[in-house]
Assembly symmetry: C2
Homo-oligomer: 410 residues x 2
Amino acid sequence: MKTAANAGADGRIDKGTVELRPDLLSGVSLPAAVIHEAPLAHNLAWMQRFAEAHGARLAPHGKTTMTPALFRRQLEAGAWGITLATAPQCRAAFAHGVRRLLMANQLVGQANMAMVAELIAAGAEFYCVVDGVENVRQLGRFFAERGLKLAVLIELGVSGGRCGCRDAAQVEALVAAIAEQPALRLVGIEGYEGMIAGGDEIAAVRAYGERLVETVRMLHASGVLKSEAPIVTASGSKWFDLIAEAFDKAELREHYTPVLRPGCYVVHDHKLYAGAMDDVKARHPQLQGELQPALEVFAHVQSLPEPGLAIIAMGKRDIGHEPDLPLPLWLYPLVSHPAAGSTPIDVSAWRTTHIMDQHVFLDIPQDAGIAVGDVIAFGTSHPCLTFDKWRQLLLVDEALEVQDSLATCF
Amino acid sequence: MKTAANAGADGRIDKGTVELRPDLLSGVSLPAAVIHEAPLAHNLAWMQRFAEAHGARLAPHGKTTMTPALFRRQLEAGAWGITLATAPQCRAAFAHGVRRLLMANQLVGQANMAMVAELIAAGAEFYCVVDGVENVRQLGRFFAERGLKLAVLIELGVSGGRCGCRDAAQVEALVAAIAEQPALRLVGIEGYEGMIAGGDEIAAVRAYGERLVETVRMLHASGVLKSEAPIVTASGSKWFDLIAEAFDKAELREHYTPVLRPGCYVVHDHKLYAGAMDDVKARHPQLQGELQPALEVFAHVQSLPEPGLAIIAMGKRDIGHEPDLPLPLWLYPLVSHPAAGSTPIDVSAWRTTHIMDQHVFLDIPQDAGIAVGDVIAFGTSHPCLTFDKWRQLLLVDEALEVQDSLATCF
């Protein structure tokens, strides 16, 4: 079983300006996925503060990590709930103590409905989204037969996008369909601005945020929302600031429940979301601090078969590679320069050229002077598709000492 | 936790010419990865027979599935051993009863070496490959300190390829380095022809196969191989016939251990390896039968937001998407045409246009007439990166009744 959890008490590794000891990695089977505690803690607090500053609740998207220990940290930091993508994800989160579950997806299929019915019967506060009359009919029948109530949000989509109502007429038809199902309780509006692409995206995201707000207002005014503080929710990890601004209104703070749902922020990344963070800062020069990358995958140099080429013992089974191939960050020259006092070397100028199931091809300088057995820490872009490669990730402190092994539940 | 194992006694689904009952999928939470027993059994026997017909042993690459129940089936069908890619994979296979482990990779890192040392001490027959003097030195020291012997194969690579010695001089240097390590026992030659690309690939693969054979002969003649029947091994799932031909010599049958290592054959696929199979048949018109696709992922239609577009409740977390996006095969119109007697509809003309973490975008005819809740079975190309998305896969019979839940150990 692939696990990075076999780091014993001696499974510590040093980094940064700390002295490098050649034996430090000996307790950890590499490749291993590592989360750095300091930037993790910083990100948890930073995003919570950001949401609160805009009068919004935070329901971090849990599908990013599916790591219950991180869900717990997010809730302890003040999160309102956890967002999930599927019924089995909701079941896993609930089993680990998450009581408020926002499934930002349609609930489809008898077995998935049954799973959610069990959660509701067990006391979960559960929400899912609807965007079609047929699905509303199925949900209404299923939950009515079981004497349960299901809280739903209407999903607003964009033309050419993913799920969600494209126009007001579809919303109207859906409201009417929901009203015919006594088991369903319409409590708000949901959207995902991440599907917006092309043209002036910033303007389009702002307009979409306003459309969400206007729609929930309109529905609230018409009396169809069965909630004292209707939900309006959106936001991935790229344009969370624009959605937060759209939701940041005195009226919403007082009479609604605006909810932001970024997921990747918790470990951030080294390129895609790093760039998005730069854009957020450019839009908000007054913003204090920023998200920091917290996730790395450590792997050995496995083979040096030709000058300028290193094969790394890590592949698609260990690290995400979309949209960007793994990003080399730090070389730990455990074999090539084992002398005490050596420090990790910045190798961010090196380039990954290819990735296979179990191997990465790294373009290195002809005079790199590395050796088989050296260790390289890689960053990811983006992070979601790295988490799902692991059943455990290692939480490490600033000296790279392993603090905890975090189980995932994909 | 994501699992397809929650199919109870009622978790059966029909397919093909069998009558379709609208309730049949109700016990299974979709998406679910499904392996069809009949083509699986066929493939197991077919490849074993193919290897034996060429006088070769079969050590199927286990990294494809990392499914111990399939390892067991492969061994029961006559496999000589199981090939793995990493030390943790070897540990997992050994823990599930696989005694002969061929790690077709360099063994790098103290923790991984320690893992292998434990396996050898526990009675595993273990082989790994070497391609560099530094790695040989590390392995020799590590295993000597523990009083253990490590059997190694020299890897032959190709210029511009992955790992492996590029030329005879490197092989010679490696032989000398191994000879200096009493803990190491050189027992053969390993290669992977799958890295050959460009030009006349068929001729290049044949030449590579001959180079492997010539090298093992040369080393055997020089007396450096510490084995009565030295190993020569190669072959992925694309050109296994060409390697088998290169190994099919009376001399090898009598005095060597030729080993083929295809992995994907066990479930085959619907495009990449299906095409490779067509090529194999074209090269060998006399060949009886062929590999059959055995792996599908079943998923619900989740949303029909625009004419001609279906969003499927399945994504990168559930199915591989390289080199080809998921291939729609069969529509089970459970909702749109629930009448008894309806049969699955061939939708292989439909096209997946995009895949996200949890969603697939399917281009469908404007008059497709499907409904949210309908089920579509998708094929993959290739299969490796579907297995690693699941902790369990469902083994089903010809009526799609669930026979077993197969745990993976990625």
